[in-house]
């Protein structure tokens, strides 16, 4: 230790504005106990503005507004059975959105999810016609999804193709297989058990569909993994800087591959639930879902370029989008008009906070 004067009477040069880089010590006399002069706080000091401007706060406000408006314009909205019906309309997509959120977080995307649902449903249908039972069909549905996801993952990580190109390709490929095999036919022969899974409820009160409970459980698991475990840390690191992540010993390609398999598996699960719910497989099953799923993720605050976003945000966005659609259909707004309104909602939900933040930052100067 070099001779150091007692530092107690020195003012703490700790900067109150976290934006500015901390000041360098003036005329330089570097000693190894410089740190004694600095107090580094354990965490960021709480500021109400940060909480109010958090994306999740905005989504909560949006959700409250959606519920309020829906209740006001339709007396049927708050009916328990109607709400149960509403959740069954978005739960399968929401399950896929959880896996999609992780993929987009690491800077990848899977646009083939809806096509994987079609492919899984097709193979389940063929197996069902051949006499396979409910349990066998579930296993088949999940496996086909996982294999399709592994195929995407292989092309992206082992061959190094961009995921948007790969999954646009497999979107046509998987859907095309279903269309070629089915033609204009539909498979409608499914065992009772599968339909029970898709159409009934685990708990009598509240009478929500099984798919919704599965979504809730998976959302909790995804939230814990992303926000509380070392695996979650790795995903954020990859999403923000894959090179530095690799240099830090993170097996980037292996994790990316796993996430594609996960995305396929979630799609397979959605296929099982959806096939059971509607009791049939048609070539256009789940058509266009990939964009609805991506919309959920992006509205949920996951950056499309990777690196930021939360599971609670995605869950909130699922409800905002699901209940908006349902509320409008209750008052007989046509589907095509709903699409226009959802597009406007997505754009304004993303643009407005950016503009507000810009104004606030301007005022703060």
């Amino acid at each position: 230790m070099s001779a150091s004067e007692p530092m107690a009477d020195l003012p703490l040069p700790h900067s109150p504005a976290p934006e500015a880089p901390p000041p360098q010590s003036g005329p330089n006399q570097p000693t190894s106990n410089q740190s004694a002069r600095y107090t580094v706080l354990d965490r960021k000091p709480f500021r109400l503005v940060d909480l109010l401007l958090a994306w999740e706060t905005i989504l909560v406000l949006l959700l409250v507004a959606v519920i309020g408006i829906n209740t006001w314009i339709s007396p049927y909205f708050l009916d328990v059975f109607n709400l149960s019906d509403a959740t069954s309309n978005f739960s399968e997509k929401a399950i896929v959105a959880l896996a999609m959120a992780l993929l987009i977080l690491v800077g990848e995307i899977d646009l083939s999810v809806a096509a994987i649902i079609a492919l899984s449903s097709l193979i389940m249908g063929l197996a069902s016609v051949a006499g396979v039972g409910t349990f066998g069909l579930i296993v088949i549905g999940l496996s086909v999804g996982a294999f399709a996801g592994a195929f995407n993952g292989y092309l992206v990580t082992a061959i190094g193709l961009p995921s948007i190109v790969v999954t646009i390709g497999t979107m046509s490929l998987f859907r095309g297989i279903a269309q070629v095999v089915l033609g204009d036919q539909a498979i409608t022969k499914y065992p009772e058990g599968l339909q029970t899974l898709g159409q009934t409820t685990l708990l009598a009160v509240p009478p929500l569909p099984n798919s919704f409970y599965i979504f809730v459980v998976l959302a909790v698991v995804a939230g814990l993994v992303l926000h509380r475990t070392t695996a979650g840390r790795r995903l954020y690191a990859i999403g923000n800087n894959p090179v530095a992540a690799r240099f830090s010993g993170i097996r980037v390609e292996r994790i990316r591959f796993t996430l594609f398999v996960l995305s396929g598996l979630a799609s397979g699960l959605a296929a099982v639930l959806l096939t059971g719910r509607i009791g049939s497989t048609r070539p256009n099953i789940a058509l266009g879902w990939e964009l609805e799923v991506v919309t959920m993720v992006v509205l949920g605050g996951v950056s499309i370029s990777g690196g930021s976003g939360t599971i609670p945000g995605v869950v909130l966005a699922v409800f905002v989008l699901g209940l908006t659609t349902f509320g409008m259909s209750l008052v007989n707004v046509p589907g095509i008009v709903i699409n226009v309104l959802l597009g406007l909602l997505l754009i304004s939900a993303i643009a407005v906070p950016l503009v507000v933040r810009g104004i606030l930052r301007g005022l703060g100067r």
């Binding site: 410089q34 580094v40 706080l41 475990t229 070392t230 695996a231 097996r251």
Partner: protein
């Protein structure tokens, strides 16, 4: 008055310079790249620009070609004062540059590459292909190129791409041609071709600024020299009146005025033994031993293969040959994760891209390479343990920040570097490789990094220090390994190393 043909007639031996740069200064945050620099170039002559890595040669070239605008200084070309704010201005004043690694358009033809930015056009504003191809073939004929105007660039080799760059220089009818390490990627025969072209350009009365680290080339091709050191002009003269030794002395001739906190440490057992490490192109037959408590310096020119060899050792791009022993046990390293498990840590040179995840906080960055050590049951992060460790390492490295969750992008370069080093210390390595650890950071942080290196060596770590800064490498190392062209050229011990010898070996000499 007998004059050799390539010397311009006029009073004395030289006419007025065609280009005169004077009083040029350029600062970047924390760095004075050039200070009161001057440079004269003469028509029909080749001037060699010599200086160490980081002496300011590249900055000078970028000022002449309009990529940087100097803070102060004047530029006079052919008696007329000019201001260069963009590459276009540089062309207009007759200045063009051939770069070390040509930046060109692979999918376009040779002709389009040569005339990019100044294509001949028809009256309707479309590209005049007849003129374009005609003029290109004329240029190619002049430099005796063996390919035609319509060849796609991607089919050419490196040397041929250099020919395209030269043709591009000629297409501007440039009076001043800058060649920045033009021979770096060329074979001996191709270098001969290049020198023939240089002679040709000289005979046409063009002025050439030739930048190279290789003295044999400088003495072959240049008429004059100008030497740079730490951004200052430290001398100029005729090549015929100087020697290699004189130039080397001028290049490095500063007193080592920094005080390095290197301590005497008892050197222990070998901790890392590398034998015959090679990959396909960048380095070959790298063998050395690192001991506990030892700081082993690696010096060499940019491109000598130092970083590549260390990244091979780290498993980032696994080597094709060679064995690595750690504590006398053979280590199998195929990925950075294997290297970390084996006890190796690597602080990379490019902090922004390879070292730090700048949008994340200090705490998250420090944990990144050692997540297993803070994982509790089920892979959940033990936040108490993590915070305690962050505080310890933060204090050890004197990281200055408002709070431990502050994003790295909000910190100064020096503090970012401290966080990156802390990230690697958290892995509890036995071998720490530091690749240009003090590049671009302020003096205070630099001293802190040197102090921590000395402390770690005293604790028994084996440390490898890659540095292009001669005083640093000599001041901190127990031994200095000098690499040249992908191989270990010489190993000096602390007593036997002099700046002149090290630079001479690094530039391919045999002193």
């Amino acid at each position: 008055m007998s004059i050799t043909p390539d010397v311009q007639p006029g009073g004395g031996e030289y006419a007025d310079p065609i280009l005169r740069l004077s009083g040029v200064s350029k600062r970047f945050p924390g760095v004075r790249a050039l200070e009161g620099m001057r440079l004269d170039l003469y028509a029909g002559h080749t001037t060699a620009l010599v200086g160490e890595n980081g002496a300011g040669k590249s900055t000078l070239v970028k000022i002449l070609t309009g990529i940087y605008t100097p803070d102060t200084g004047t530029l006079v070309v052919a008696g007329k004062e000019c201001e260069i704010h963009s590459p276009r201005d540089a062309w207009a004043d007759g200045i063009t540059a051939i770069h070390q690694e040509p930046v060109m358009f692979d999918d376009l033809s040779v002709a389009e590459n040569i005339f990019m930015g100044h294509m001949p056009v028809t009256r309707r504003g479309l590209i005049d292909w007849t003129t374009l191809v005609g003029r290109t073939n004329e240029l190619l004929h002049r430099i005796e190129a063996d390919f035609s105007a319509k060849t796609p660039l991607k089919r050419l080799g490196v040397a041929q791409k250099h020919m395209v760059e030269i043709a591009r220089a000629l297409s501007h009818d440039a009076r001043i041609v800058i060649m920045d390490e033009p021979t770096a990627a060329l074979s001996a025969r191709e270098i001969d071709d290049l020198f023939r072209i240089i002679a040709d350009l000289k005979s046409q009365g063009r002025a050439i600024l030739f930048i190279s680290h290789k003295f044999d080339e400088i003495f072959r091709v240049a008429d004059r020299w100008t030497c740079l050191r730490d951004g200052h002009h430290v001398g100029e003269g005729l090549i015929s009146e100087t020697t290699e030794d004189d130039l080397v002395k001028l290049m490095v001739g500063r007193s080592i005025d920094q005080v390095f906190p290197k301590r005497h440490v008892v050197i222990g057992e070998p901790v890392l033994q590398v034998e015959g490490l090679s990959n396909a192109t960048e380095y070959a037959d790298i063998s050395f031993t690192l001991h506990r408590g030892e700081i082993l310096g690696f010096y060499g020119l940019v491109g000598a293969g130092r970083s590549e060899a260390m990244q091979g050792l780290m498993g980032i791009s696994p080597p094709t040959q060679g064995t690595i022993r750690i504590n006398a046990k053979r280590a199998a390293i195929f990925a950075p994760a294997d290297a970390i498990d084996a006890g190796i840590a690597y602080v990379p040179e490019d902090r922004q891209i390879q070292g730090a995840v700048t949008p994340l906080g200090i705490r998250e960055n420090m944990s990144l390479a050692s997540l297993g050590k803070i994982a509790g049951k089920g892979g959940f992060v033990d936040t108490h343990k993590e915070l305690a460790r962050t505080r310890d390492l933060g204090a050890k490295l004197a990281v200055k920040a408002a709070h431990w969750d502050q994003k790295l992008m909000e910190l100064s370069g020096g503090n970012q570097q401290k966080v990156v080093i802390a990230k690697w210390l958290a892995t509890k390595p036995q071998i720490l490789i530091l690749d240009e650890p003090t590049k671009g950071i302020d003096i205070g942080s630099k001293a802190a990094v040197h102090a921590i290196m000395a402390d770690l060596a005293a604790e028994g770590l084996g440390i490898i220090l890659i540095s292009s800064e001669l005083p640093e490498v000599m001041g901190m190392s127990d031994r200095v390994v000098v690499m040249a062209e992908g191989r270990i050229a010489r190993v000096f011990d602390r007593a036997g190393a002099t700046p002149e010898k090290i630079v001479s070996i690094a530039t391919g000499g045999s002193a």
